[in-house]
Amino acid sequence: MSVNISVEAPIENQIQEITYDGTEIYQPPLTLSESLAKYAQKIDFSKTELEIKKEELNEDSKSDTDSKEAFQSSLWPWDSVRNKLRNALQEVCVLADVLAIAKDKRYLVLDPVQQETLETKPMVQIYARKKALAGAASVLLAGSEKMKNSQTEAARSRTTLDFHIELLRLRQNWRLKKVSNTIIGDLSYRTTGSKYLQTGTFEVTKAEDEEKTNSPPSSPLPGSTASAKPTSALRVSIPSELQGVAYIEVLCQKDQEDLCTANLTLLGSGAPPTNPDMHWQQKLEAAQNVLFCKELFNQLAKEAVQLQAPVPHMVVGNQIMATVLPGIQLIIALRHSTSSDKKQQNPPPSKSDHDHVLEHSLHQLLREVHHKNTHHPFPHPATGPLGPSKKRMLAGPMAADRYELLEMTKTQTLLEQIVQQAQHFIMRMRTEYVLDTIAKEVKDPLITSHWNTLNSPTQSCVKIHISTHGYDAVCRTPLIIHVGEKSLKCICRDGKVMNMSYEPQELRDLIFCHINQHQILAVQALAKTMGWQALGNSNHLGTGTVEPLGNASSCLLSSPTGDRIIAVRCEPSTDTQVSVAHSPRQDFFPSRLVTERKWEHLGGQFRDVRLDKMEGRNFLHKMELLMASLTSSS
């Protein structure tokens, strides 16, 4: 749309006369020389600062007459100009002469003139300032009041958050900077010590659907629409490679186990991850998490390739496979679902045994690396150099040898640490399993295990008690097992230390041996309380059939009067055998070999006791009954 505008020149000539019929008679324009003369006359050569005041008084009248003269007596229009110039010349000449004389310093000396100091009254000044400030303050206050009013007005009338308020909130949590016309943010971990190369920049823009967000204020019920969906006036755009949801999947798997056992959906990924309506805070957090996972995986993959492991680590695509223990692999995978394949593609087969603890440890390890990158030790004394550790600082004066120095430079990689943690995890699991199954299998004696609540990611400790129900005061066998990364260490009752490998069978055998020993020891302890006498015992009996594991243990007990003898033999594989002999033998028949009765004190033949037919809750109870009966019958 355009309107025609006519451009007219303003009237240049003065109107001399208007005739009755309305015609305007213009003055003829001044010639160039005339106008120059006119302007020249207007120049006031004599006007200097000093004279301003004096002249001001007579100026008006004078100039009036001057101009009249100029117009009327136009005999010589340059006359006044010439006069003024001549005066000026005269003054300059005088000044030049004075300066010439003054320069000689013989006749004339120029002294600086003391300038009169202005007399100031401090109190007056203060009052004046105070008044001025009060005036300024009231103006500012009024302005701020006005702005506040309009702000609250706007807030009341608007449901969507203001872009700038949003930006302020964003600024409080994220690093932003302005690059020309765009606002760029950074969600990388660079400032906290990360050295990952991928950038994590995002752009902040105003939401484009301005009309949509602007419509609520006009509606009569702004509150209802706002509560329905609070749309943000701010939009963050994240680079495509950081979109979506990522996490590190960690699982330990056995060789023979099938890879795809379950197709569970991803944790927390029920909702499509890149919902356009998602709040920017969640969006940025998700993107930051993607970046973190990528860095973590990148680091692990790098280490997996570099590390010289006995069984080489494998890196295939987004998956790292490391052998933890023979037959057991640790699989670390980067799972990243982006918006493009969120619906079409099934989420990757997530196994039920995804190890959250190890995943958490991985995150923790990388954060530790970040922390170490930024937190360097301070030197003491303070003049020392920044950087070297306290240990390295001491290396010179303490004359550390080259091995110690080499040791200082060694650091464990993330992968090594996580493999160790996985190893320990497996070892702990196996130990738990062995102990639980033994406790289930063996009812007599009872096996109880106490796991220490305090443990480290690579070390834990379990205390085992072998005791018999009802007789735990008589005898109990304690064992302590330290579970390490690839081995077990068992500290036995007598202080012996047994080192075992990662094979669970070894622990199982050890526990069974200790069950046997416990039974024999417990019988002896019980015998002591019953007044019986232990004649002898052996933990490693050389007689009898060869045991598949360990040796049989046995003991001999005699009654208080010595006329009864009980023999107990415990074998790890079979049950306990108990035999009883009488002395003197009750049935003596002279034979060709043993002819006299005095030999009856040798003790008779051992006869087996059928324990399973006996009364009693458990082995010790039966033994107690047996001993009691044998004592009383004598």
Binding site: A395, G396, M398, R402
Partner: protein
């Protein structure tokens, strides 16, 4: 860190390299494995006359402690030892106005390093300002730090491959320190003792 014994060794009618070869054969026959090289050097600075009575600073480096510079200050009556970072050499250069280096006395012992069980053996060829002076054998017993407790063991070990010329008494420096904990600076003291002897000797030093 262990206890180290340093001893000079010479064979009749044999040159330095020949002697080292004989020893090397003997030690390898005992089952030693060669593990790299070693170098101990010593530079001596003396004070300028304006500083009063003369003092000497011996600056030694031992490749076994690569991060350390050892300095032994001899004022005629006693020796003060100091262990510092590698930059001490730089400081000595700055002090050239007060302490001047005598280049012709620069001594070093270098050669091969062997490991045999708990023992480290070093066969060093000693040169003073690049003139051959003799052979120094260093034996270190790692698991022990008190000389008195392992001297007999070390003596026996030394006799095992040095034969009858092996020392029968502990080095003079160690003799009144037998019950103290042995530190790397003690090795340096022994080296300095031997270097001083070599410097004084006119030619090839013989036991």
């Amino acid at each position: 860190m262990g206890v180290t014994i340093l001893t000079q060794f010479a064979l009749e009618n044999k040159t330095g390299p020949q002697t080292v070869e004989v020893l090397s054969k003997r030690i390898c026959a005992l089952g030693a494995v060669q593990q790299g090289h070693f170098l101990v050097d010593c530079e001596t600075y003396t004070s300028v006359p304006q500083l009063g009575h003369q003092r000497t600073v011996h600056v030694l480096h031992n490749s076994e402690q690569p991060a350390t510079v050892f300095s032994l200050l001899d004022n005629g009556t006693k020796i003060t030892a100091l262990a510092t970072d590698g930059l001490f050499d730089l400081l000595m250069m700055k002090m050239s106005q007060f302490y001047t280096s005598k280049k012709q006395t620069k001594a070093e012992s270098k050669g091969l390093r062997y490991e045999i069980g708990d023992f480290y053996v070093k066969l060093g060829t000693v040169t003073v300002s690049s003139n051959y002076k003799g052979i120094l054998v260093e034996v270190e017993y790692r698991p022990c730090v008190v000389p008195a407790m392992c001297w007999d063991l070390l003596k026996e070990f030394l006799q095992g491959f040095l034969g009858l010329t092996a020392p029968t008494n502990p080095p003079t420096y160690l003799q009144n320190r037998m019950q103290e904990v042995y530190t790397p600076i003690d090795t340096i003291h022994q080296y300095l003792e031997h270097f001083t002897m070599f410097r004084k000797s006119p030619g090839i030093y013989r036991n």
